[in-house]
Symmetry: C2
DNA sequence: CTGTTAGCGCATTCAC
DNA sequence: GTGAATGCGCTAACAG
C-alpha cells in the first residue's frame, strides 16, 4: 500500500487495459457487465479512488461552479448558498464557496484562484470595496460564464439576478394601505444606493396607485440603525404628525421605530402597523409582530444557478446580458391593525 | 483567442522551451532575470492563467484543505470557518467549505468528493446522523491527514480539537459563586450527549471546590428550548426553593428562565445572576444582561488548521491521535448581582 | 466489446 | 541557464 492505486494498477491485476478500466468505472455502455463487475470489485479491493484532477484535466471540465460572497454568515447569503447548492447538486455539479469578507484584494485573489482551478461557472456577489472592476472585466476572455447576484456591478456583458426592490417597496406599502393605513411613514436608507432608491420608488408608486398623497415629511433617510428608526419616530410623533403605518427599508430601523412607539404607548392614539425588509431572522425573535419582507436568498441562488448552468451547457460564450428580478416575499405576522 | 493559452504558447512566441517558461513562472533561481521578465510580460500579454489542475496533478498536491461542517449558517461554524481560512491563507493554502446539512448521505458524498479532488488535508465536524463511521474509517488509508473539530466521533487514529466543556461549566459556575451566589440552578441538556454531561460535571466540580453542597433538585435536564428554561424556573420558584444563580447549558434556556424571573419580579426577593453557553449572537440582542460563554469557534478553527497543516508538512501519516481542548470564554455583561 | 495510441498542461529529471 | 525528454492519471479517438 505504498502509493494510491490508479486505473493501471487495477488493469494490471485484471490483465486488461487501463482504458477498459476507465470505461468500466464510468459505466460506459461499451463494456460487458461481467468486466464491469470485476473492475468494480477489484477497485473496491484495492481501495481505488478516482483522481479527479487527472480526469478534469483530460476532460477540460470540472463539474464545479465557484461562488463568491462577502460573508457566509449573513443570513441572505447563507440562504442563497443553500439555493445554489441544491440546484447545482441536482444537476450533478459541485460548488466551491468563497468569502471576500468585503475586501477587494481578497475578492481578486479568489476570482483568480477559481479561474486557475477551472471552475465551469462563476456566481458572484461583489464586496463593498469592489469599485474597480478590472478583475471582473478579465473574466470576459476566460470563457467562463459569470452571473452576478444581489450585489451586481455596472459592467456590460454579464447577467444579473437581483431582488425586485421596487416591487418589494410597493408590496410593503400596499400591504399597509390594505390594512387601512393612510398616513404611512417611510424609513429609508442612503439614496445613493440603488436598493433604497428602488424601495422608495415602490413606496411612492403604491401611494399613487391608491390615491394617497405623498408627503415629503413622511420620508426619512438614514443609516438604518436601530436608533435611527427610534429617533425618526420620535421626531415625527412629537411634531404631532398623524401616523398609522411605517414601512422601513430594513428590520433594524423598524425595530427602533417600534421600540419608541411601545415606550410612548399612552400618547399614541392607535397602534401603528409596521413592515420592514428583513436582513436576519433575528428580527423575528426580537419583534415577532413585525411583518417582514424576506429577500428570498434561496430563490435568488436557485435562479442564478439555473442561469449559469444554462450558459455552461449551451457553451455559448457570447451570452446576452440580461437582468432577472426576483420577488421579495411579504411575511405577514400577527399584525397590530385589523 | 480560440483556446486558453498554455506555457507552450508563450514558449513558442518567445522561441524558448516550455520548461524554461515553467521555471520562469515559478520564479526558479535557475533562470535569467531577463528571460523571467520576458516570460512574465508575454504571459500578461496573452492573458495566460496557470492551469492549476495540471500543476496539481503533476505535483500531486493541491494546496487545499477541505472542510466539512453541518451548516455554515450556524454561528459557531461560521466563526470556525473564519479561523480556518485565516490560518490556511497565511500558510498559503486554499480552503473548500462543504456543508452536510446534518445528513449522513451528503457527508459521505462530500468526503468522497474531497478525497477524489485530492485535498491535502481534511477538517471535519460530523453531522448528527453520523453514527456509522465507514466513510471516515476509509480515510485512514487515503494518506490524507484528518482532524475532527467540535463534533468528533469515536474512532481511533484521528486527532480532535474540542471545546473544554468541563472547564466551561466550571468557569460559569465559579463566576456565579464569586458573585456571591450560593444556590445555583443548573439547566442542563440530554445527558447522553457528552457536551452536556461535561458541562454538568464542571458545575459539580466548581461547587465542590468552593464547598457548596450539591443538591439534585437544582439540576434540571431538558431539551434546552426557551420554554424549558421558563418552566424549570417556574417549578423551582413556586416550590419556594431559594435561588440566586442560574447556569444554563445554552442560551435559549437561559433566556426562558430570565423571562420567567422578569415576569415574576414581585415574588423574587433579589435578582438572580445568569450564565449561559451561547450558540448564536442573537442572545446578546435579546438579553444583553446575560453573561455568556462563547464557544470560541475561531480559536477552534485556527488550532484545528494548525494541526492539520503540521500533519501535511510533516508527511507523517502515522499521526499519533490526540485531543486538544480549547477554552470557552466567559463574556461578562452588566451582571445583575454585584 | 476491448486494446492501442495519443495527449490534456505542467514540472521535473537529466543532459549540455 | 536552457532544452529535450518523460510522465502525473485519466479519457477519447481510432482500430480491430
Amino acid at each position: 500500500m505504498s502509493n494510491k492505486p490508479t486505473i493501471h494498477d487495477i488493469a494490471k491485476a485484471l490483465r486488461i487495459d487501463s482504458s477498459t478500466v476507465s470505461r468500466a468505472l464510468n459505466d460506459s455502455p461499451r463494456v460487458t457487465k461481467a468486466t464491469k463487475v470485476r473492475v468494480l470489485s477489484k477497485a473496491q479491493e484495492l481501495g481505488y479512488q478516482r483522481n479527479m484532477l487527472a480526469s478534469n484535466l483530460r476532460k477540460n471540465i470540472t463539474n464545479t461552479i465557484g461562488v463568491v460572497v462577502p460573508r457566509i454568515s449573513r443570513h441572505f447569503f447563507s440562504s442563497a448558498i443553500q439555493g445554489i447548492e441544491e440546484t447545482a447538486y441536482l444537476a450533478g455539479y459541485n460548488v466551491i464557496i468563497c468569502q471576500s469578507l468585503e475586501q477587494l484584494e481578497r475578492e481578486k485573489k479568489i476570482v483568480d484562484g477559481l479561474v486557475a482551478n477551472r471552475v465551469d461557472g462563476l456566481l458572484i456577489s461583489v464586496s463593498m470595496e469592489t469599485l474597480n472592476y478590472d478583475h471582473l472585466e478579465n473574466l470576459k476572455n476566460s470563457r467562463i460564464p459569470v452571473i452576478f447576484f444581489d450585489r451586481h456591478c455596472d459592467i456590460s456583458g454579464f447577467s444579473n439576478v437581483l431582488i425586485d426592490d421596487f416591487k418589494g417597496g410597493f408590496d410593503a406599502t400596499e400591504h399597509l394601505i390594505l390594512q387601512g393605513c393612510k398616513h404611512i411613514v417611510h424609513l429609508s436608507g442612503p439614496q445613493e444606493l440603488e436598493i433604497y432608491k428602488n424601495r422608495f420608488e415602490g413606496y411612492k408608486a403604491a401611494l399613487k396607485q391608491y390615491g394617497i398623497i405623498y408627503y415629503e415629511e413622511y420620508v426619512n433617510s438614514s443609516r438604518l440603525m436601530e436608533q435611527d428608526g427610534y429617533i425618526s419616530m420620535q421626531k415625527l410623533l412629537t411634531k404631532n404628525i398623524p401616523i398609522d403605518g411605517v414601512f422601513a427599508a430594513n428590520d433594524l430601523s423598524a425595530i427602533g421605530a417600534m421600540k419608541y412607539v411601545k415606550e410612548q404607548h399612552i400618547k399614541i392614539p392607535e397602534t401603528i402597523a409596521f413592515v420592514g425588509f428583513s436582513n436576519e431572522p433575528v428580527s423575528e425573535i426580537i419583534e415577532p409582530s413585525l411583518t417582514t419582507i424576506d429577500q428570498s436568498g434561496f430563490e435568488i441562488g436557485k435562479v442564478a444557478t439555473q442561469l449559469v448552468l444554462k450558459h455552461i451547457v449551451s457553451k455559448d460564450w457570447a451570452q446576452p446580458e440580461h437582468t432577472i428580478l426576483i420577488d421579495a416575499h411579504l411575511i405577514e405576522r400577527n399584525s397590530s391593525k385589523k
